[in-house]
Structures are given as C-alpha cells and as structure tokens.
C-alpha cells in the first residue's frame, strides 16, 4: 500500500520541477506562451477531472457487482440506463465542444499580438544549427550570428523562418508554440518576452542524426542592454592582441575553417557554417551541445564527430602546437 501511494505521488512531484524552467511551455514568459499555457491547464484540469470520474465509476461498478442491479425490475433498469447514456453522451459532446472553442479562442489570441514597434529576425534552420540574421533597412546594421537570439523585453519580434536543407521546427516553449521552417518557403511567427531571462529552444521536427542536439538560446534583456549587445555585434572581430593569438588567426585562415566560417574583419567570409565573428560572446558550442569553454572548444575542433556524430563540421588534422593558439584566438572573439 505504501509503495503504491509513493508511486502515485511521485509523478505529481515531477510537476513541481516545471516551475522556473528554461524550457517549459507551462512557465510562460510572453503573451502567446501565456495563452498556450492557459489552454494547457484548461485541458489538463478538464481531462483530469473526467479521468478521475471515469476511474471512480469503474471502481464503483466493480465493487458493486451485479446483485443490486438485478433486484430492480427490468423496465425501471432500462429507463435508468437510457437516461444515463443519453446524459453522458450530451455531456461528452458539450465538453468536447467547449474544449474546441477554448482552443480556437487561444489560436486567435496567439495570432493577435500587437505588431507595433516590431523587429524582424531571420532564422534559417540547418543540419544541425540555427543561422540568425537581424534585418535592418540600413545594410550596415545587419547582425549575423548563430544559435543565440537576443531580444529586447516587451518588444514584439517577428521570426521569419526558412531552412537550407530539410524541414526543421523553431520552438521556444517559454515564448510561443512551434513553427516549421521549410526549405524554399518563409514561415513567420511573432514572439514577445515580457520577463528578462534566458530561454532554451529546440528543433521540434525530426531533421536527421543530430536532431536532438539542435538547440538555441533566446536571451531576453532590457532595451538598453540589448542595444549594447547589438552595438558590439556590429563591430568587426577583435584583432589579435598578442603574437600567440596572431598565430591562431593564421592557423584559422590557413586551414579548412575558412571554407565554411566567417570572421568579419578577416578574409574568412564563408556562410556555410556559423558566423564566428563574436563567437567568444556566445553561451554554447555546436547549437547548445556544449557550454562555450576553451576545453570544450578544443574537443570540438579536434574531434567534432566524436562530440556530435554525423554533423557537417569537417574533421581536420590540426597540429597540437597550433591548436592552443587557435583556441586562444577564437575564444578572444568576444
């Protein structure tokens, strides 16, 4: 009995872990996520009550057995059963209809975000990382980054999504629902964060070997902090400050790195892999796979297929005495 009680309490305890989480649809940080979270609770409570009621009646009928029913006269029994079945049928239809209405109302509310003062961010899905580009009418103010989206708090942001290879899905549960990124098509989604914070997103459409390791971070911060970040991102990469980092830059520019990556301010300008101009300022390596530390970066560069098998980063032979300066250089790109 004790074991059974514990077993039934344990799943309930799991729910307490949902609060304050970086990736949770029921811990909303924006207006749309609030609507979706609300709908989730409506469904959860209505369906929960129905589930408990059904279980209770099943238990009741099991315990009661046939005896009592058989004592009743046939006609009265028939009438009673008809009434019960009709009542429950109507109740089911009404419940389903109300759930449908609440779902439609939520859908409408989610699409009705005020778009005043909005900004546009292009997000392109790749196997297995996110290309991020801040649109601006002034081409000198376009910021390109990867796997990390900074947004100002309280300001609506349009995500214009597309894909370079297969179908991906952009999903930051704390801010909004899922939106598929489809090759050669553009899909849009408005998001808004009302609380500053760091929210984790995840590709929500199976996209190949490393679908599970395709995450992104959305960092919501006050407008002035966001502006400062934007200003930093617009700068070209920091020049190497000492001979060691200078050597690292040469290693980067003379290896296969330059065929896929860009570092603005140098001759590296390829757009196949993530832009590394301000790599050192990002939280993670390889789309949320590892925290951005020098050690992790070393492991990633020397054996990318060991960290994230099947990804498109080439395994190159870097000389051990060249790796150290290379790491120092890349990590210095704040």
């Amino acid at each position: 009995m004790k074991a059974r009680l514990a077993a039934s309490v344990a799943p309930l305890l799991l729910f307490t872990g949902c609060a304050g989480h970086q990736q949770s649809a029921i811990d909303p940080a924006g207006p749309q996520a609030e609507h979706i979270g609300m709908l989730w609770w409506v469904f959860f409570s209505v369906l929960g009550i129905i589930f408990i009621a059904v279980m209770a009646f099943t238990l009741l009928s099991l315990m009661r057995g046939d005896r009592e029913i058989e004592q009743e006269p046939h006609e009265a029994k028939e009438k009673k059963l008809t009434r019960i079945v009709a009542g429950v049928t109507i109740g089911t239809v009404v419940t389903l209809f109300l759930l449908l209405v609440s779902s439609i109302v939520t859908g409408k509310a989610v699409s009705e975000l005020s778009q005043k003062n909005g900004m546009v961010i292009e997000v392109t899905g790749n196997q297995w990382w996110w290309y991020v580009r801040y649109q601006n009418d002034d081409p000198t103010k376009i910021v390109v980054t990867a796997n990390e989206i900074h947004i100002p708090v309280g300001r609506p942001v349009m995500i214009r999504g597309t894909s370079n290879d297969v179908i991906h899905s952009f999903w930051v549960p704390n801010l909004h629902g899922k939106r598929d990124l489809i090759p050669s098509r553009v899909t849009t989604e408005w998001i808004q964060a009302d609380k500053p914070g760091i929210y984790r997103g995840q590709c929500a459409e199976f996209c190949g070997l490393q679908h599970a390791l395709m995450a992104l971070w959305v960092i919501a911060e006050p407008q002035n902090k966001f502006n400062a970040w934007m200003k930093e991102q617009l700068e070209p990469a920091a020049d190497p400050t000492d001979p060691d980092k200078e050597r690292g830059q040469q290693v980067f520019l003379n290896n296969a790195c330059v065929f896929c990556h860009a570092i603005r301010g140098t001759t590296a300008a390829a757009e196949i892999g993530p832009d590394l101009t301000h790599f050192g300022s990002r939280r993670s390596i390889a789309a949320g796979t590892l925290p951005n530390t020098k050690g992790n970066l070393g492991g990633w560069i020397s054996d990318p297929q060991g960290v994230k098998p099947g990804n498109h980063m080439a395994t190159i032979a870097v000389n051990p005495n060249e790796l150290e300066p290379l790491l120092n250089y890349i990590e210095s790109l704040k």
Binding site: D165, L209, N255, A256, F259, C260, I272, D303, Q305, G306, P309, G310, H312, A314, T315, I316, A317
Partner: protein, 184 residues
C-alpha cells in the same frame, strides 16, 4: 484426439511465423557509415597517378592499385555531392557540364579520370585555374568528392547514388542512366 491435433497444428503455424520473423531480423543490417573518419595526412599517388601510358626505358612495373574507400557508399556519395557545392566546385565545373572549368562528365580526361588521378588533380591543382586543395581539406572529403564525381559519370552503382540532387536541378547520374537505358 482431433482437438489435440488442431492444437498441435496451431503450434506449428506459430513456430513457422516465429522463425519467419527471426529471419526478417537478419535483413536489418544497414549500410555502414564511416562518420568519424581520421583526418589522415595527404598522400600523393606518384606512380599510381600517371597521366600518360607511355614510359621511357625498361620494363613497365605493375601499377599500384589505389581504390577509393568510398566507392559504392551511398552516404559518402551524398556527402561528396554536398561538398561539391560547399567547396564551390560547381562555381567552375557547374553541375558537371563545365563552364569556367572543364566538364566533369566525360571520358577523355586531360589528367586522367581514375580515382587516383582525380585525387592528385584536386590535391595538386592544375594549370590554368584549378586550385590546389592539398592541406586545405581533409583527405576523406576529397575521396567523398571523387566518389560523387565518379557517380556523375555513371561509375557508381545506381543503388548508391542519390535519386535527386540537393537542389531542384536533376542529378546528372540520373540523366546518364536514363539515356543509356533508352539507347540499349
């Protein structure tokens, strides 16, 4: 007695199905993907990669046989197809038909069309525009690109080649197979 026999028969049928199911499992083996290749240093094929069959002097020694490790591997041909675009081979050779650079769908190669010749060409570069990729991209990727180039010439098993390109254009391998099928 009859009842017992029918039970036995049911048992027998079930056993046959079980064996059938187990046999099916043996076919589950999928193509091996070498997704963690070692970034070996580049080696040129000096003797193997001769471009001329004419040789001065004494008897001709048998040539060393060089095989592309990725021949017939669908995964690596597809990777080669992707890299062909990524490393901008298509910038000069287009989709194999040539443009700025010579075509890659042909039989008369200037510097030889065998895998080892292609490897040398990519690593060393060639006069009049072909850049030298040696030391820039790892050897396994060069082999993948060669596997793809060979597939454009119908030199790879059809079962291993992509049925279509990564973009909207038709895969040349498809064209080759279709036309050769039509003429036969």
């Amino acid at each position: 007695m009859a009842c017992l026999r029918s039970i036995e028969r049911g048992c027998c049928v079930r056993t046959v199905w079980c064996i059938f199911g187990l046999v099916l499992l043996t076919s589950c083996q999928r193509e091996h993907r070498d997704i963690r290749p070692s970034p070996t240093q580049l080696a040129l094929f000096g003797d193997a990669a001769r471009e001329s069959p004419l040789r001065p002097g004494g008897p001709v020694l048998p040539q060393a046989v060089v095989t592309n490790p990725y021949t017939g591997s669908a995964y690596d041909i597809a990777e080669g197809q992707r890299l062909y675009e990524w490393y901008n081979c298509s910038g000069c050779h287009f989709k194999g038909g040539g443009g700025i650079g010579p075509p890659l769908i042909k039989t008369d190669w200037i510097y030889g069309g065998e895998p080892e010749n292609l490897f040398d060409t990519i690593v060393k570069g060639r006069p009049n525009g072909m850049p030298s990729w040696g030391g820039r991209i790892p050897a396994y990727q060069i082999w993948q690109i060669i596997a793809f180039i060979r597939s454009m010439n119908g030199m790879q098993p059809t079962s291993a080649t992509a049925s279509r390109g990564d973009t909207i254009e038709t895969n040349p391998q498809n064209l080759v197979n279709r036309t050769s099928g039509a003429t036969k």
